[in-house]
């Protein structure tokens, strides 16, 4: 065990810190809409032009191919510089891109990967369906082969930013007679395809906030050349890159949340005033627990990276994800109690209320807290199904 970083790593840290300090956009990121798209793409393009894009992408695909330790350092500096998150670029950089690298044809790689890195395109996900959420394997959107095309019909839901996207990673059932997890294919869907319509879904944060769309496919034609991996092997294709980041990017959130707790401590002290020292108040006790839990969350991320570095490929990262998600929710909830009556004002300038409401998605997205506990129970602890 050690917390050492090599001299080269320390030099890399200084380099990253300097560049981020000088280039992180200072204007506030719009929460939604075309302005958010433009903001995210511009930031990605800026990183690309300076040679910082794709830190976890292999060099052969235009990335930097950094070691896990260097990725961790980059993300730590990224959070310290308060750089904007990937947001709309997330699916492309961490999911669609890596999936195409691992399973795509040469033509697919040549076309899509540079566009992603350069910040030219937004990707979205088409996995969940109205009747296939936690039980993703039961998805029913059908695609039949017609000549050199697939013809897709059905519906996808909870597609974040679908209305702002160029491409979609889409899971469709191409063999209805096969077993549940067989007979699925992973395809690239052009969001401008005829027959594809979108229904915006507003989320609970505030009125007129479209975050998701529901997608309806009415005989949407997709060239067979846009199937990634083998036809009917889509489940394996989708699962092969789920852990692409291997936990390094999580450190960003944790550092940000640690700073949030510091802001909360300052605000709470201000609100309670001198009459009631923080250490004697129930809010102080909760802040103290949060500070300790945030420290533990960071140590857990170091452990996830240590395991990945050692080539250990288990489900233990679920332990960190579960703990981190629930600690973040607790922080957002406590922020509200610190605001007191002002918690009822959902203002643009002060985003604690917005992010409190937003935090409800943390334990739902990318596998609910309950599904994660099934995974921990069965795959980490070996309990029977």
């Amino acid at each position: 065990m050690n917390l050492h970083f090599s001299a080269e790593d320390i030099a890399f840290r200084a380099q990253a810190r300097d560049w981020l300090h000088d280039h992180v956009p200072r204007e506030r990121r719009p929460h939604a809409g075309p302005a958010a798209r433009a903001y995210d793409l511009a930031w990605q393009a800026l990183q690309h032009d300076a040679g910082w894009a794709g830190i976890s992408w292999p060099k052969e695909y235009g990335g930097l191919g950094l070691s896990l330790t260097r990725q961790l350092i980059w993300h730590e500096e990224y959070a310290r510089a308060d750089a904007p998150d990937h947001h709309l670029c997330f699916v492309a950089l961490n999911h669609a891109g890596p999936t195409i690298m691992a399973n795509g044809t040469e033509a697919q790689k040549q076309y899509h990967l540079p566009r992603i890195l350069k910040g030219e395109v937004i990707w979205c996900q088409g996995f969940s369906e109205p009747n296939a959420g936690s039980d993703l394997g039961s998805l029913r959107t059908r695609a039949r082969v017609d000549g050199d095309h697939l013809v897709v019909s059905g519906s996808k839901i909870w597609t974040s930013h679908g209305h702002l996207s160029d491409w979609q990673e889409l899971l469709v059932r191409t063999d209805a007679s096969a077993a549940k997890h067989k007979g699925i294919s992973w395809v690239i869907c052009d969001m401008k395809s005829p027959g594809l319509t979108l229904r915006p879904i507003e989320i609970m944060t505030s009125p007129n906030q479209t975050h998701f769309v529901q997608c309806f496919y009415d005989d949407v034609r997709i060239p067979l050349t846009d199937v990634v991996g083998d036809l009917n092997d889509g489940w394996n294709v989708a699962m092969s890159t789920l852990a692409f980041e291997r936990g390094t990017a999580q450190i960003r959130d944790q550092i940000r949340y640690a700073y949030l707790v510091e802001d909360m401590i300052a605000k709470a002290a201000e609100r309670l005033g001198n009459d009631c020292p923080l250490s004697r108040d129930e809010i102080g006790a909760r802040l103290a627990d949060l500070r300790a839990d945030m420290a533990a969350a960071r140590a857990m991320t170091y452990m996830v990276v240590s395991r990945a570095d050692a080539g250990m490929r288990g489900s233990e990262a679920s332990l960190m994800r579960a703990m981190v998600g629930e600690t973040q929710q607790r922080a957002r909830r406590l922020a509200l109690d610190i605001l007191g009556p002002y918690a009822l004002e959902n203002s643009e300038e002060d985003d604690w209320v917005y992010f409190y409401l937003r935090s409800f998605s943390i334990t739902i997205a990318a596998g609910t807290a309950q599904i994660q506990r099934n995974i921990i129970g069965e795959r980490v602890l070996g309990l029977p199904r």
């Binding site: 250490s279 500070r291 533990a296 395991r307 129970g377």
Partner: protein, 338 residues
């Protein structure tokens, strides 16, 4: 950066674990063994021969020359096996005596010193002259008593304490006395805050051991106990309790490892990280020990099964040298390290 134990560290853990499972299985504590107090001091010399008490001291003074990281790994195993809390006095006493070049040092390193520990009940001022009310743990036959606070650590003679009164102990396998320090002079005293941070770290590691042992007991029981024709661990109601226990263990293990490295390598934020460890690990130990009783059902409520032993010891650990309330107050007073 790497939080995984090295091959050498794993070897230390494995050899200690095989010693403890042969010589100190938790079953040693069950009836017909006496149900008040414990006889763990008989093991201390053999553990001394393994280098346990001088693990973190330089070889020049008779130690093994390892660090707080190895000490933490050792205390995790000692916690799993519910060793008497007197062990804290041996390791910390050895560090104190090493700093002071005290001549008793070798008896702490070899485990022959008869020691126990004291914990404040209320305000205790600990210094060259000390006052206040304390509890004594496993001090019935002790010659020396160790106490630690934010300013340092001190070793007293048992005879330095006044009004020693036995009281029934919630953790009945630990002897408990009320006692009082009245203008008492510790035989050895060092105003060295590092000693207290090490104390918090070792307590955290012991608590990690309790959290892990109870997780493992609950999981094992959930795999074998059947109701409604199925192992109870197949029901999500039970499976998710076990998953929560595993999450708590991971948090406590990782934060304790991190804090041990901050101490071993001399990074900033030592007090912040040891206090975080104590808070997270003590809470994990108590919660896991409680949930273990629930998973076991009625048998878990009896003295015929082991779950209650872990719960009671977890509460002792939580109280020692700064309970959670005190840790919260402390952590709010510290700066967030980088």
């Amino acid at each position: 950066m790497n939080l995984l134990p090295t091959a050498e560290q794993r070897e230390i853990v494995d050899s200690l674990r095989s010693f403890l499972s042969a010589r100190a299985p938790v079953s040693r504590l069950r009836p017909p063994a006496p149900q008040t107090g414990n006889s763990d001091h008989r093991l201390f010399r053999d553990l001394g021969d393994l280098g346990i008490w001088g693990c973190g001291l330089p070889e020049a003074v008779g130690g093994v020359g390892l660090s707080a990281t190895e000490e933490s790994l050792i205390y995790r195993e000692l916690g799993r096996h519910l060793l008497s809390p007197a062990i804290f006095a041996l390791t910390l006493g050895a560090h104190l005596l090493s700093q002071l070049k005290g001549k008793l040092l070798s008896s702490f390193i070899d485990g022959s010193a008869r020691v126990g520990i004291a914990n404040p009940r209320g305000r205790v001022s600990l210094a060259a002259r000390s006052d206040g009310d304390v509890h004594l743990f496993d001090c019935a036959e002790a010659e020396w008593v160790l106490i630690s606070d934010e300013n340092g650590a001190g070793l007293f003679c048992r005879d330095d304490f006044a009004e020693i009164q036995p009281v029934p102990s919630m953790d009945n396998l630990v002897t408990l006395h009320r006692a009082r320090l009245v203008d008492a002079r510790p035989s050895f005293w060092a105003a060295a805050p590092d000693l207290h941070e090490r104390a918090l770290l070792l307590l955290s590691a012991f608590a990690v051991g309790i959290a892990e042992a109870t997780r493992d007991m609950a999981v094992e029981y959930a795999k074998t106990r059947e109701q409604f024709g199925r192992p109870i661990g197949s029901f999500q109601a039970i499976k998710h309790i076990c998953a929560d226990m595993a999450i708590r263990c991971e948090a406590a293990v990782c934060q304790t490892a991190f804090a041990s490295l901050v101490l071993a390598e001399g990074h900033d934020g030592l007090a912040f990280h040891t206090t975080s460890s104590k808070l997270v690990a003590a809470a994990s130990a108590i919660k896991n020990a409680s949930q273990n009783i629930q998973v076991h059902g009625a048998i878990g409520f009896t003295a015929e099964a082991d779950p209650h032993l872990f719960l009671k010891r977890a509460h002792v650990i939580e109280q020692l040298w700064g309970d959670s309330r005190r840790c919260r107050e402390r952590i709010l007073s510290l700066d967030l390290p980088e």
